[in-house]
């Protein structure tokens, strides 16, 4: 990089001096301006050599996964936030490349201890980059690629094997009988020691468009106590103090790159008469919200204009499922009071707590600003409560926390499915001949199944007058109002193919009304009940006497 600039400088100086000959009456100021102009002109072709449009090659990650999906993005190293990502684009298999996130970063690791002996703000106060970024050994990035990270600290230059990129796979990405595909994902992680703790901030980018920010924590326990009710007495007789890890991420969504037309909404599934009614609330001003198990709440970010080919707005859901250790801290830490925040993007708002310039924390970032038609930012948090155990010494195994960012209608279908399932006709269970009486209500369930899982539509012809079939459920209902024998055909369709069955439906005249036939069946019922009773009595004598 430095070489490139030096060469450019020499080139510019040479050209500059020849221009000098022609334009010797130009003053120094103009010369500088011309040089700058030339610098820009010369740099453009250099930049276009790079595949990346937003960063130089060495900071560009462009990965097409074996299944055909592609993620590309730029990364950057910062002393406090560690590795941050920007210009994160997803190209579904065979689909359109769209920006998902403009910026994504860890926004705080807040670690209060149960004895209140200390309450660390690891990111803002210590940093997970720079001197707190680990130089990885090759074996720590199995089957992966390590990106070098260079930075200057106290006038000294450092280069470390800092960022590990891996392509991983899971056995089952989706499955429907014999139609199954593996799933692949791009994984990026680094390791950041802060005190005795080693954090592993990890980003997983799935071939189905899902993004999962993870945080691992390992190393060794940081603090010990004399009081057993502040933690756990371990095998070595020390009492490891229990503590919270509040992990925060800052996610600047710019769906489809247009940054002023993202809409953030909260989705609740409200219970009403045995049903769950989806209720959606759009945020027009900044908001701080909590998860709510009763309504299974989640949040959604959608683009106002970009749509998939079904005509549905592209969007992402934010799922904070693993919130069982949610911890609302003291009044002095209002940024812990909520799980999800939406704010107007401000570049000086970096850290969820101990923010260094402007507002001091998340609770202050949410200060009533209008976010409709503005650049929005999502802040999400997940908590892990660590009660030490004997296994945590001398080394502590990694514990992981994660959140999920899941596409909704980004594509019009599962584009990773390679099998055009051969359509099988739905199967209809045959129906025996029916006998009913005039003006007595009738209910008959038609049963059908479909191996493809298609939605089925029912129809019928020749039904006794007064009866009709429900096209969605296949239930035949009504009061027959004409006697006679009816030849009925029932059809079921999966949209492409159909099956049918025939039977005769006899409707008896109103004269022989329900008393006779009903009485007959009642007698049978009584007989059945009596025999059952006698049998039960003989088998379970003891219980009856009790």
């Amino acid at each position: 990089m430095k070489m490139k600039i030096r060469v450019l400088h020499r080139l510019i100086t040479t050209i500059g001096s020849s221009i000098d000959n022609y334009l010797n009456n130009l003053n120094a100021f103009l010369r500088v301006a011309v040089s700058l102009l030339l610098l820009i002109l010369f740099q453009t072709p250099f930049a276009s050599v790079n595949a990346a449009e937003n960063c130089s090659d060495e900071f560009y990650i462009d990965e097409t996964l074996p299944s055909g999906a592609r993620w590309d993005m730029c990364w950057e190293h910062r002393i406090r936030e560690g590795i941050t990502l920007s210009h994160v684009y997803f190209t579904p298999k065979g689909g359109i490349r769209r920006m998902i996130l403009n910026q994504a970063a860890v926004a705080q690791i807040h670690v209060p201890y149960d004895d209140n002996g200390t309450r660390f703000h690891d990111l803002s106060d210590f940093g997970i980059g720079g001197q707190n970024l680990l130089d990885l050994n090759a074996d720590e990035c199995p089957s992966g690629t390590i990106y070098p990270i260079s930075y200057v600290f106290e006038n000294q230059s450092f280069t470390k094997n800092g960022l590990c990129k891996q392509i991983k796979q899971d056995d089952i990405g989706f499955k429907s009988a014999s139609n199954s595909e593996r799933s692949h994902y791009l994984s990026l992680f680094n390791v950041s020691p802060v005190g005795a703790y080693y954090y592993i901030p990890t980003w997983k980018f799935m071939d189905n468009g899902t993004i999962e920010p993870w945080m691992g924590a390992t190393g060794a326990l940081q603090r010990f106590s004399q009081e057993e009710n502040r933690g756990w007495k371990m095998g070595d007789n020390r009492i490891g103090i229990a503590h919270i890890h509040n992990f925060f991420w800052k996610l600047d969504f710019d769906l489809n790159k247009t940054h002023l037309d993202d809409v953030v909404e909260e989705v609740n599934f409200v219970l009403s008469n045995g049903k769950r009614n989806r209720q959606t609330t759009t945020f027009n001003i900044e908001a701080a919200r909590k998860v709510n198990p009763d309504t299974m709440r989640h949040w959604r970010i959608s683009d106002k204009s970009a749509r998939n080919s079904n005509g549905h707005n592209i969007s992402y859901d934010i799922l904070l499922n693993e919130t069982g250790h949610q911890d609302i801290g003291p009044a002095s830490e209002p940024f812990t009071a909520n799980d999800f925040h939406v704010t107007k993007q401000r570049s000086q708002e970096k850290f969820a707590s101990h923010n260094t310039s402007g507002a001091r924390n998340l609770a202050e970032f949410v200060n009533g600003e209008n976010i409709a038609d503005d650049d929005i930012v999502i802040w999400a948090g997940i908590t892990f409560y660590h009660m030490p155990r004997s296994e945590d010494a001398p080394h502590m195994d990694v514990h992981w926390s994660k959140m999920s960012i899941v596409p909704r209608d980004l594509t019009a279908k599962n584009v990773l499915n390679n099998v055009t399932q051969t359509n099988s006709a739905p199967q209809l269970t045959s129906i025996s001949d029916q006998n009913n009486q005039l003006n007595i209500s009738v209910s008959l369930n038609v049963q059908a199944s479909d191996v493809n899982g298609d939605v089925l539509t029912y129809s019928a012809s020749g039904l006794p007058t007064g009866l009709s079939i429900n096209a969605n459920t296949g239930q035949i209902l009504g009061n027959p109002n004409q006697s006679g024998n009816f030849s009925v055909q029932v059809n079921v369709s999966d949209g492409q193919t159909s099956s049918s069955t025939q039977f005769t439906w006899s409707i008896g005249s109103g004269n022989n009304n329900s008393d006779d036939s009903g009485g007959g069946s009642l007698n049978l019922f009584v007989l059945l009940f009596l025999s059952l009773f006698i049998w039960a009595k003989s088998r379970l004598r003891i219980r009856f006497y009790v």
């Binding site: 149960d114 209140n116 720590e140 199995p142 056995d171 089952i172 989706f174 499955k175 429907s176 009988a177 139609n179 799933s183 390791v191 005795a196 592993i200 899902t210 390992t218 009710n229 933690g231 756990w232 095998g235 070595d236 229990a242 045995g274 769950r276 009614n277 989806r278 299974m296 998939n308 079904n310 549905h312 499922n321 693993e322 919130t323 069982g324 250790h325 911890d327 609302i328 003291p330 009044a331 409560y385 009660m387 004997s390 296994e391 001398p394 080394h395 195994d397 990694v398 594509t411 019009a412 279908k413 599962n414 499915n417 479909d450 298609d454 939605v455 969605n472 003891i542 006497y545 009790v546």
Partner: protein, 392 residues
């Protein structure tokens, strides 16, 4: 007259005998694994797992006698039996609730045949001649990373099967980690074919804007812990960390659960449960135990129809052979659901069973059609003081 007295006495005696049996029930401790049904894995560190598997028509794959051997330590039993004892599906449009394990079954013909590509690098085990269970070892990244370049990468043993029920598919996966952790997961995939008439009960999918019905799955995991040799002396501890009124400190409270309980999560007190052995200890004289790490919370709703068994997250009961399905349990001499299994029996130093309800809500989307990309729901069983230090 005399006859009736004799009858009454006989009845009372029968009740007494039955009650004694009831109080002392424990899973038979001498179960042997049918030939060909054992699974075992020894990792390069020397840490090892072994267990027995079987298939039932209802629960599908059931694991039993699960043993963990930490590196250079004694092999000890963790679980007597572990199964997915019910999946209750509730639909957002109020259509009939389904109980998949008892109404359809995860076993039988619903248990899917797995081909080699669904079990890469592993071994597919057969049941009744069909390949139904994948057993595969995977590298699992860091076990730990610490100062002075101290580091270790680890492996895990994955055991999974698939069950297709009305076109939806469930991948039931048990991961046994080298460090003793057990991760249990259900992955939902397959085809979602329910349609709602009202848009608020689902989500418009396809170009035709068909309303795909939203639904909630309640997974009921049945975990019969049998720590170490004696399966009748397990103790459950509830551990809470109570915040002070200014919320600056927390104070730990440990309570032995002496009678069966149904409990719910309360994030504010960080409540969790562990099952420990009454007598077996590690080298530091601490009781060996496993704890439940159940972090699923945001979707942990209490169901749509006021059902008692959906009102709690965790049910701790004494082993009872007839308590098999968390809901729709056959009721001869037994409760019909897990809320009835909690009926005051003593669980202090008994054979205890942990029932965990894990809830997952699905709002379908265009990408789910089809098949739906897999969505995992999981929890962890973590050794606590199983060894006096990190054995790896």
């Amino acid at each position: 007259m005399k006859l009736s007295i004799i009858k009454t006495l006989f009845t009372l005696a029968a009740i007494a005998v039955f009650s004694i049996v009831n109080v002392a029930q424990a899973r038979p401790n001498n179960t042997s694994c049918p030939t060909g049904n054992t699974i075992s894995k020894t990792f390069s560190s020397g840490a090892a797992w072994d267990m027995c598997w079987g298939v039932r028509a209802e629960e599908g794959v059931v694991l039993s006698d699960v043993y963990y051997k930490p590196a250079n330590k004694i092999r000890r039993r963790v679980l007597g039996e572990a199964s997915l004892s019910q999946i209750q599906t509730e639909y957002d449009d109020g259509s009939a609730t389904e109980f998949l394990v008892t109404q359809y079954g995860l076993g039988g013909s619903n248990l899917q045949t797995l081909n080699a590509s669904m079990c890469q690098g592993g071994q597919v085990r057969r049941h009744n001649g069909r390949q139904v269970l994948c057993e595969v070892t995977k590298s699992n990244g860091y076990i730990y990373r610490s100062s002075n370049n101290t580091r270790r990468q680890g492996s895990k043993l994955d055991v999974y099967s698939a069950s297709n029920i009305n076109a939806r598919e469930f991948i039931i996966k048990w991961s046994f980690l080298e460090n003793g952790s057990i991760e249990v997961a259900s992955g939902l995939t397959g085809i979602f074919n329910k349609t709602a008439s009202n848009a608020v009960n689902g989500w418009p999918v396809t170009a035709q804007n068909r309303i795909a019905t939203g639904f909630t799955d309640h997974y009921f995991w049945r975990l019969d812990f049998d720590i170490a040799n004696d399966n009748g002396n397990d103790i459950i501890e509830q551990i809470m960390s109570i915040p002070s009124s200014d919320r600056l400190t927390k104070t730990k409270q440990v309570q032995t659960i002496s009678n069966e309980i149904a409990a719910s999560f309360t994030p504010s007190d960080k409540k969790f449960w562990r099952v420990k052995d009454q007598s077996v200890t590690n080298e530091a004289n601490q009781a060996i135990s496993y704890e439940m790490v159940a972090l699923n919370y945001a979707q942990q709703s209490k169901g749509n129809s006021n059902s008692q068994w959906l009102k709690n997250d965790m049910f701790l009961t004494q082993y009872n052979a007839c308590e098999r399905f968390a809901v729709q349990n056959p009721s001869n001499n037994c409760g019909t659901d897990v809320s009835q299994f909690v009926n005051g029996q003593n669980i202090n130093a008994k054979d205890v069973v942990v029932w965990y309800r894990l809830v997952h809500h699905t709002l379908p989307r265009d990408e789910d059609f089809s098949p739906a990309p897999i969505q995992w729901s999981h929890f962890i069983m973590l050794p606590r003081d199983w060894t006096s230090t990190n054995s790896l």
